[in-house]
């Protein structure tokens, strides 16, 4: 009979820790490789999610379909028709109606996203010193979408405001234009005054000047009242006010009768000066008057990042964290359920050897999954990759390591496989809410933000974005954060495992 221990092997003296660690590396890898469906799910599942997200996500969703309500034949309809192109960054016009009821029905029917109701008579409101209110009605329940609507409508209304203002200013200038003619006529009157020389002619001319000045004062005061309600024309109103003030001075100082030739000459000079100054005010372009600034944006990034691309590093970081946490948490719990811990208690294995063996195995497997995902994202989905592969590998390795350590620490809290899965799901949800994946972590209040910094994915997202989009190495803080989490969670896992392996 063959003897089982005929020439029994003895443990290697120096290499025993390596061999013992290697036992877990091989075991974990073999167990993973033996589950091709799970492997396919691990690699294809996340990739298909990325593909679907990239294909399905459209920035046009940020543009709102809007129906406008206003009085028929009002200025709004013309403004919207004229400036539709300027508004289409925010709003797609789905029609102009005069009934709020009709528009609201369209909102209920889902035909439009918002209804914009213009005031009935904005000029009266404006002239009475009030701002005319434009109401925006929606039926969105998503707070994020509500914010998007608020921003989009704010911008659109500003644009409408500017366009209406521009039109009104143009109208005001139209009203001012005759006044310009009148001012030119005043210059002629001044010449007439200088040329008349006789008292009778001068008095007649002075009478006409007085009527012209009164008429001009009416026009200027009316225009000034309108323009004074329109906030963005402050500078030009100053000129207009000067003109009105000068006009008042001229009229106040003008003798009622029997002007001397010197007084005629002085009046003529005042009129000429007034005409020169007033002509400057009326020559401004309404577009410049109402929108004195325009903006252009330029990115210093080496590549252009589309909305679909933007989420690729975040998604990969989150998936890697989830995979690693799940691997690690389930692995130790499963080992415990198979009774391996009984053997480990009386074997020479140390908790460090067990944890490091498992980490190496899952790092290799997770690294493979990450490589496939990143390669497919870059070459198949066209996600930009501006940085170096070395930095990327370092960031991925640290994300995996910190996540594995977290998973092992969580497994020490788990009494069963189902509990381990629950913990892994909790860490996934925490990653979604607190990592900056959806909401910026700057929006979180400081105590809650602490959670963000306890999650590997928080640092992972920033590190991957730096490498892939900015083309630079990860921020040292992010690398240090990941290394720190690996150390802290790893130590917790080892200490807890030592406790579990302690004799009861």
């Amino acid at each position: 009979m063959n003897r089982p221990d005929g020439d029994a092997l003895r443990p290697t003296r120096l290499g025993a820790p390596v061999v013992r660690t290697w036992a877990f590396v091989r075991k974990e890898l073999a167990e993973l490789v033996r589950q091709p469906r799970m492997l396919a799910l691990l690699i294809l599942g996340p990739f298909m999610l990325l593909v679907l997200f990239g294909a399905g996500y459209s920035q046009s969703d940020l543009v709102l379909r809007a129906m406008f309500v206003g009085p028929p034949g009002s200025i709004y309809e013309d403004v919207l028709a004229t400036y539709e192109e300027d508004l289409d960054d925010f709003i797609v016009t789905k029609g102009f109606v005069d009934s709020e009821l009709v528009a609201t029905k369209a909102l209920y029917d889902g035909v439009v996203d918002v209804v914009v109701v213009f005031p009935e008579d904005p000029v009266d409101t404006v002239l009475s010193g009030e701002r005319a209110e434009i109401r925006v009605i929606h039926d969105e329940i998503d707070p994020l979408q509500q914010t998007a609507i608020w921003v989009a409508t704010k911008l659109a209304v500003q644009e409408v405001n500017a366009n209406v203002l521009s039109a009104l200013t143009g109208e005001a200038q139209d009203q001012l234009a005759p006044a310009g003619d009148m001012v030119a006529a005043l210059a002629d009157r001044a010449a007439e005054l200088e040329a008349s020389g006789t008292t009778a002619d001068a008095s007649e001319v002075a009478g006409r000047v007085d009527r012209d000045l009164a008429e001009l004062a009416t026009v200027l005061d009316g225009s000034a009242m309108v323009l004074a309600r329109l906030e963005s024309v402050d500078v030009d109103l100053e000129g207009l006010d000067d003109a009105r003030s000068s006009l008042r001075d001229i009229r106040t100082g003008m003798p009622s009768e029997d002007l001397s030739p010197e007084e005629y000459a002085a009046l003529a000079a005042d009129l000429r000066e007034f005409a020169d100054r007033f002509a400057d005010v009326t020559t401004l372009d309404p577009m410049v008057l109402t929108r004195p600034f325009e903006s252009t944006t330029e990115s210093i990034l080496p590549i252009r990042v589309d909305p679909g691309d933007y989420f690729a590093p975040s998604s990969i970081a989150l998936l890697l964290q989830h995979l690693a946490v799940t691997f690690a948490a389930l692995s130790l719990v499963r080992d415990r359920s198979t009774g391996l811990f009984e053997l480990l208690r009386i074997s020479p294995l140390s908790p460090w050897e067990i944890v490091s063996g498992k980490c190496v195995a899952f790092l290799l497997m997770g690294g493979g999954v990450a490589a496939v995902l990143l390669a497919a994202s870059t070459w198949v989905l066209g996600v930009p990759m501006a940085g170096s592969v070395g930095w990327l590998a370092l960031a991925v390795a640290l994300v995996l390591l910190a996540s594995l350590a977290l998973g092992m620490a969580l497994s020490m809290l788990s009494g069963s496989e189902s509990q381990a899965v629950q913990y892994a799901m909790l860490s996934l949800l925490a990653g979604l809410f607190f990592s900056g994946f959806v909401l910026s972590i700057d929006d979180l209040v400081p105590p809650v933000r602490t959670i963000s910094f306890l999650l590997p994915v928080t640092y992972g997202i920033r590190a991957l974005q730096d490498v892939m989009f900015r083309g630079i190495g990860p921020d040292l803080i992010d690398l240090a954060g990941l290394a720190g989490l690996s150390l802290v969670y790893g130590t917790v896992a080892v200490v807890a495992l030592r406790g579990k392996l302690r004799i009861a």
């Binding site: 003897r3 443990p11 290499g15 013992r20 053997l343 140390s350």
Partner: protein, 332 residues
């Protein structure tokens, strides 16, 4: 090795005041009914549990305070084998070898172990695809893979066919001969015959710890002879037989004309039995020593212990002599 060893779970004693001393190279069998504390005893001795009271020591040290090197000298086969279903038979064995730091060039060593447990042809099969008995054999091979000096085997032969079981015990004997110490629990009481010492446990107590022969003897408090008579004896005749000087225990009716008599020495009693029975008026057709099997001995000792526990005193003599015992025997 164990002194006043006690283990309680939730205030209930599972092992009570257990004393054991095991010499190097011995095979010690622990037998007893389910739930009697065999596995807990083994786990206490292996250092997997810390005692609630008393001590368990291995290699001269407390079993729970062994160094890594000392632990590496122990082989432990748990009742539920720690195997990985998605790994192959060979990979499982190799994992256990690595766990103890054996060098990676170990193909021949593993092959020899697989040959021994007759799993060589199945070495590539995944553990989930082999039978429970094969898994048990693999677990045993894994326990031996690092050549331990002290082995704790919790039911190593459960689910193994009798031929392979016999082969295992032969190997255990060989290991014992080479100086290895084995502590083995078994549900097959007959396997006690392979052991040097047998510990019989019941309700957490060690009822006896002795050689297998003494276990059998203890079952009847002496040796046993079966006497076939020409006619069935009367109760009065049996009472007179009980007064004979070599009769030290019970006299039971094995059949209507066969008596089972507990004597101090079977050989001496067989020489005297014919004349002694003739004096009582009974003719002997045949008289021979009854070889008590381990199952029978086990059942008698445990029942006697339980009877005594229920009666609150030592009921051995009462149980052995009353008619109820004879009645139960006849029903079998």
């Amino acid at each position: 090795m164990a002194c006043d060893l006690t283990k309680e779970f939730d205030g209930r004693a599972v092992v009570r005041d257990l004393d054991l001393a095991i010499e190097d190279g011995a095979i010690v069998g622990l037998i007893g009914p389910s739930g009697c504390g065999k596995t807990t005893t083994v786990r206490l001795l292996a250092g997997l549990l810390s005692p609630s009271a008393g001590t368990a020591s291995v290699f001269g040290r407390s079993a729970t305070e062994l160094s890594g090197a000392e632990r590496a000298e122990i082989g432990y086969l748990p009742q539920t084998p720690a195997l990985f279903p998605d790994l192959s038979v060979r990979e499982n064995l190799s994992f256990h070898a690595s766990m103890y730091g054996l060098p990676l060039r170990r193909k021949r060593h593993l092959r020899r172990l697989l040959d021994w447990v007759e799993l060589t042809d199945d070495r590539r099969k995944r553990v989930r695809d082999i039978s429970g008995g094969m898994q048990r054999r693999l677990a045993l091979a894994a326990t031996l893979v690092h050549g331990p000096r002290l082995l704790f085997l919790d039911e190593p032969t459960a689910g193994i066919d009798p031929i392979l079981r016999d082969k295992f015990w032969q190997e255990f004997r060989t290991m014992s001969a080479s100086g290895r110490t084995l502590v083995i629990t078994t549900q097959y009481v007959g396997e006690a015959s392979y052991c040097d010492l047998v510990g019989l446990l019941s309700d957490g107590e060690l009822l006896m710890f002795d050689t297998p022969d003494n276990l059998r003897r203890a079952a009847f408090d002496g040796e046993v002879i079966d006497v076939t008579l020409r006619r069935p004896p009367s109760d009065t005749e049996i009472e007179r037989l009980a007064a004979l000087p070599f009769v030290i225990g019970s006299i039971e009716r094995e059949r209507h004309d066969v008596l089972r008599i507990v004597v101090s020495d079977a050989d001496a009693a067989l020489e005297l039995i014919s004349s002694a029975l003739e004096e009582v008026g009974l003719d002997v057709v045949e008289a021979a020593e009854h070889q008590v099997d381990y199952d029978e001995a086990f059942v008698r000792v445990v029942e006697r212990h339980r009877g005594a526990s229920t009666a609150g005193g030592d009921g051995v003599a009462d149980g052995a002599t009353d008619g109820a015992v004879a009645g139960r025997r006849e029903e079998r």
